[in-house]
């Protein structure tokens, strides 16, 4: 109604703007500003100096953390996608609608349950004297050192991301037009050709989105690298926590955080761009 200005639409529109402005944009902007502040006698003073950036970016341990985090998150994204795919394929094409719905239902549950307790359970399971090594010993293998290694961290990442990746992949596979697949068979495509020429390209956006989420979650995670990966070398998240919790070096932690956000968004946008871009 152009003639009377109604309050109504704004009552619904404004709360989010106010809230996110105050408690989402505000904190992030402050964090960016903070990265240029001065720390004197364990107190921060607003300033505009590049010292924090210089101190962090010139350190070898920062770049070690940077690359190990990027590498592990990328590996986790690829691994999770590969491990999830056969399961997603089965759920999308080989089970009934009802089974699929229940499977998704059960995959959502762990996403909202304590990740911390699950990581602790893995600590117990993967321990030198734990059940998994006991089983391995029973068949004459091991014991393997899994805890506090890259393997331990990767197990943790998979616990975190697999449910979500399976859900996203299943949805995108189930959404493929069945006629398309039948047409491929009808035209004489073998199962392998159908999979690589028809199914995977059709579900590409969903598959990439799944991998991107796996990347985002693993990249920012601190529990798996800390409690299962032994935090050596530290990841970016561990670096932020160490820098924040010890010695009030918040501005330096902010530098690490900004580097993380920039990297994360670059990778995510590039991947999403690749997902949609080539599909002309």
């Amino acid at each position: 109604m152009k003639t009377r200005i109604s309050l109504y639409p704004y009552v619904w529109r404004l709360p989010l703007l106010i809230w996110q402005g105050l408690f989402f944009v505000g904190p992030l902007v402050l964090m960016v500003a903070m990265s240029f502040w001065l720390v004197k006698n364990y107190r921060m003073e607003p300033d505009f100096i590049l010292k924090n950036w210089d101190k962090m970016l010139s350190r070898g341990y920062f770049w070690d953390a940077y690359w190990i985090t990027l590498w592990r998150a990328s590996l986790a994204a690829v691994l999770a996608s590969l491990i999830a795919f056969p399961a997603s394929y089965t759920l999308a094409f080989r089970v009934s609608e009802t089974t699929r719905r229940w499977a998704i239902f059960f995959l959502i549950v762990p996403f909202f349950t304590s990740y911390l307790v699950r990581a602790y359970a893995w600590q117990v399971l993967l321990a030198e004297s734990g059940p998994i090594n006991a089983i391995l010993g029973f068949v004459g293998l091991g014991p393997l050192t899994m805890l506090n290694t890259g393997i331990g961290a990767m197990v943790g990442y998979m616990t975190l991301v697999l449910p979500l990746v399976v859900i996203l992949q299943t949805f995108s596979l189930a959404a493929i037009d069945r006629n398309l697949i039948e047409a491929a068979w009808n035209l004489g495509a073998r199962p392998r050709a159908t999979l690589f020429r028809v199914i995977i390209p059709s579900a590409r956006v969903g598959l990439i989105i799944g991998a991107v989420f796996a990347f985002i979650l693993s990249y920012g995670d601190f529990v798996s690298p800390f409690y299962l990966g032994g935090s050596k070398p530290p990841t970016m998240s561990i670096l932020i926590i160490d820098t924040t919790k010890s010695g009030q070096q918040w501005p330096r932690a902010a530098v690490v955080a900004i580097m993380m956000i920039v990297t994360l968004f670059t990778v995510a946008f590039a991947a999403v761009g690749a997902a949609y871009g080539r599909r002309k």
Partner: protein, 259 residues
């Protein structure tokens, strides 16, 4: 059934086993008598529950978690609903920026949210208080609530609200008599899910909580010190709480969309 069908089902079951193994382990060891978790198991005991819940700080932490979860869930649900309704009802300039602002928080790593919140809430004098944790958890929960409400509104016939105006309801009245009643199942499940998110969240809470610890923050601190099977007992209770919330939420979503 062909062999490949059998194998693929076994694969799916193995994947589910992997996902649920830590949850099951935690429950099993919470009733196991041995102090150090080894195989074979010791005997059945409720000792760890008794020890854990005889500590007053555990009860305080549960109380804190409950207060924070209820408040954060209520705020998230309200914020999520008004945003979902705006998206459903209106088109306006910069709407995609508006939606990005609404949905972006989950993409920011929790550690970074924790740091940013710590600094910001400190400036507002809310650092180390329960309201501070509530604020942080609302920021994280609102996008989930918004997504759930938006999906429900998607199922609403766009004429429904107009039909209410047409029958003499003012926009406000149509909201309370039609839009909200229609969205109620989503509001309840959004409340449950965001409560579960808050009940399990420990990183941001750890950054901003100070002395007012929530349960997951307490678990985190126990994990950093002497590991003790009490964690399994507390963890099992936490699992049960959040799983109940999540399953309740999902049943509401499933039942309503089937109808």
């Amino acid at each position: 059934m062909r062999l490949s069908d059998v194998l693929s089902r076994i694969y799916v079951l193995a994947l589910f086993l992997f996902v649920f193994l830590p949850i099951l382990t935690s429950v099993v060891f919470s009733f196991n008598s041995d102090r150090f978790p080894t195989v074979p198991l010791g005997h059945f005991t409720t000792h760890w529950y008794e020890t854990a819940f005889s500590r007053p700080e555990v009860w305080t932490a549960f109380g804190n978690s409950l207060i924070v979860a209820v408040c954060a869930a209520a705020l998230s649900t309200v914020l999520g609903f008004v945003t979902a309704y705006t998206d459903y009802r209106y088109g306006f300039r910069f709407k995609s920026a508006y939606l990005a602002l609404a949905l972006l928080p989950p993409t920011i790593p929790l550690v970074i949210m924790g740091l940013a919140m710590l600094a910001w809430l400190g400036r507002l004098g809310l650092s180390g208080t329960l309201p501070g944790i509530v604020i942080a958890h609302t920021v994280m929960g609102a996008p989930f609530a918004m997504a759930i409400c938006r999906m429900r509104l998607q199922q609403m016939d766009p004429s429904l609200e107009a039909a209410a105006w047409n029958l003499g309801a003012s926009p406000w009245r149509a909201m309370s008599a039609v839009v909200i009643p229609f969205t109620v199942p989503a509001l309840i499940s959004a409340f449950c899910l965001t409560a579960a998110v808050s009940f399990d969240e420990f990183i941001v809470a750890w950054f901003v909580s100070g002395l007012n610890k929530t349960v997951p923050v307490m678990i985190l601190e126990i994990l950093q010190g002497n590991v003790d099977p009490q964690i399994n007992a507390i963890g099992t209770v936490v699992f049960l709480t959040s799983m109940t919330l999540v399953i309740l939420a999902q049943l509401l979503i499933l039942r309503r969309s089937a109808a």
